[in-house]
Amino acid sequence: MTADEKQEAQFQKLLTPKDPEGNDLKFQSKEAEATYKASITRIKDAVQLKKTPDRVPVTLLPSMFPFINAGMTIQEAMYDYDKTVAAFRKFILEYEPDMHIGAAHAGPGKFYEILDYKLYKWPGHGIAPEYSYQCVEGEYMKAEEYDLLITDPSFYFRNFYLPRVFGALEGFTMLPPLTGILEIYGVAFNFIPYALPPVQGTFKALFEAGAEALKWAMAIGGLNGELTTLGFPNILGGFTKGPFDVIGDTLRGTRGIMLDMYRQPDKLLKAMEALVPIMIGMGIGASQQTGNPQIFMPLHKGADGFLSDEQFKKFYWPTFKAVMVGLIEGGCIPFPALEGHWGSRLKVIQDIPRGKTMWMVDQTDMAKAKETLGKNACLIGNVSSSMLRLSTPDEVKAYCKKLIDTAGKGGGFIMGNGAFFDEAKPENVKAMVDFTKEYGVYK
């Protein structure tokens, strides 16, 4: 199948959803079924850029807003899965966006505790109960470890990176590579480490963590199914990242990767190339599991100012584009989020296959994005967090009108917030959705 045919098949699959047993999904009403199918068709038209949708689709991409708005602390949202699910259900039924991305944002706090996650601070672990979890940047990968990463990324992750970010995975440092298991002679030697107490301790923690992750996933997965039957599709099929952000966010850190650009550029480039097929596989694998083609990609270190044009073209763009192209060839729809300002990158990033991607736009000028990137891709956004939190409903409507008139012209646009939001005025969120449904109808 060509990439076009694969994408079409994915949308057809979304239009004929199944229940967990593989039978046609039973919607709770005829109306819910019609709403669901209209939403999928609307998104399909907005993404493919072949047909103008019946109206501008509208999505809500919150981080902690549904829980804060339900009067919960972030700590509760992370630990009480039933409450989390109830709050998210209420949020969707109250605001009625055309689509959503599920209730996974808060994540399972207990799971992080079991594994002693060090990469983040979260409520009760360095953060006050009412605030969101936050990343602790560091050099979790050392400058001299590029060769290890390039040679065998999985071995590097298991034996070096993971034990540094999860305290409970210390036992992984003692495990030999799996590729040493070849034939009967000597095969047993490979398994000796599994007899050692630290390794067994790590595996015990993994069993416990797995059980907790499953418990959480059942709760939010169950809600996804329920929301579908009510007419609200979850459009998030999975997540992957561009190689520069993989290394710059959580391996070497911002400072580390920036120094590597000067001190060992060739190794950095080689490591990013090694990560390309892995990041493609991560997206395609997730999409196959969830049955949803949209693969989210948060973009960070390529924003305006973080790199010069030259650095962007040399270090950031080529491998990021390669991941997107690989995802597209696998039938996925890359869903990158341009976090912060990306105005200076638009001319470069517009060079992508047409009708195959959807981009969440944060603070970049939407009119300019429409003229460039928007020629080849669907844009989502860009009602700002500050506007949702501080403006009035009338101001939000006026901004949405401007967005529909410019970015929405001719299709290829989904109304939404520009950055994942925590605090917001409920009436502003409501105004964004309701106004779009009313004013965003294409004539």
Partner: protein, 209 residues
């Protein structure tokens, strides 16, 4: 020779820079003069950053080279030199927020451009800003924040400064992830700066120099 260090460091040629510094130390050059040249080089780096010729990686790298120079030179310093500073600025990430990358870049940019910067770190309670303003008599305060929770923390910090009777003695600038002019109005700050260059321009405009 002196010109070489300034130019080589401003051009970010790390190995050459370290060689020049080593040679000058071997030749018995005054370590304070070496540091002074390094400071002048970093001023050029800051200027190139303002002119959009340099970007954040260049700033980070220059800071890293400077650290290595300082490590080499410091053991040889016997007397201290008084540096002339343009003025004092208090900077910190507001309460509840632990992000530091943007804040660190602002601190670096202000520092290399001659301001005396008091960096309070991350998750800074409002009272700590107040205490530091009193203690240092700083005329400019920079509040950083990445998350939407920072909107309220910024407002609370500005209010605490007001309550302490210091509001008309300081200019307050804010910046970071989701911060913009709307937040400036909400928090009651004097200005919003999109990036480290604007932070520098704002501080310079208020303090002069």
């Amino acid at each position: 020779m002196a010109k070489d260090l300034v130019k080589t460091l401003a051009d970010l040629k790390e190995e050459e820079v370290l060689e020049i510094v080593q040679n000058r130390l071997n030749a018995g050059d005054d370590p304070l003069r070496i540091l002074d040249d390094a400071r002048r080089a970093l001023e050029i780096v800051g200027k190139r950053f303002s002119d959009c010729e340099y970007f954040i990686p260049d700033l980070v790298y220059s800071g890293e080279i400077l650290k290595r120079i300082t490590d080499m030179v410091k053991p040889k310093i016997t007397k201290t030199a008084e540096m002339k500073r343009l003025g004092k600025v208090v900077v910190g990430t507001v309460a509840g927020d632990i992000h530091d990358i943007g804040k660190d870049i602002v601190v670096f940019m202000l520092d290399v451009n001659g301001f005396e910067v008091f960096d309070l770190g991350i998750d800074v309670p409002a009272q700590k800003f107040v205490d530091k303003i009193k203690e240092t008599n700083s005329k400019v305060v920079g509040l950083s924040g990445f998350l939407t929770l920072a909107f309220d923390s910024m407002k609370e910090t500005v209010e605490a400064i007001k309550k302490a009777g210091l509001r008309d003695k300081v200019k307050i600038m804010i910046g970071g992830g989701q911060i913009d002019d709307l937040v400036k109005g909400f928090a009651g700050a004097d200005a919003y700066g999109k990036d480290a260059m604007e932070a520098f321009k704002l501080a310079k405009g208020w303090i002069g120099g």
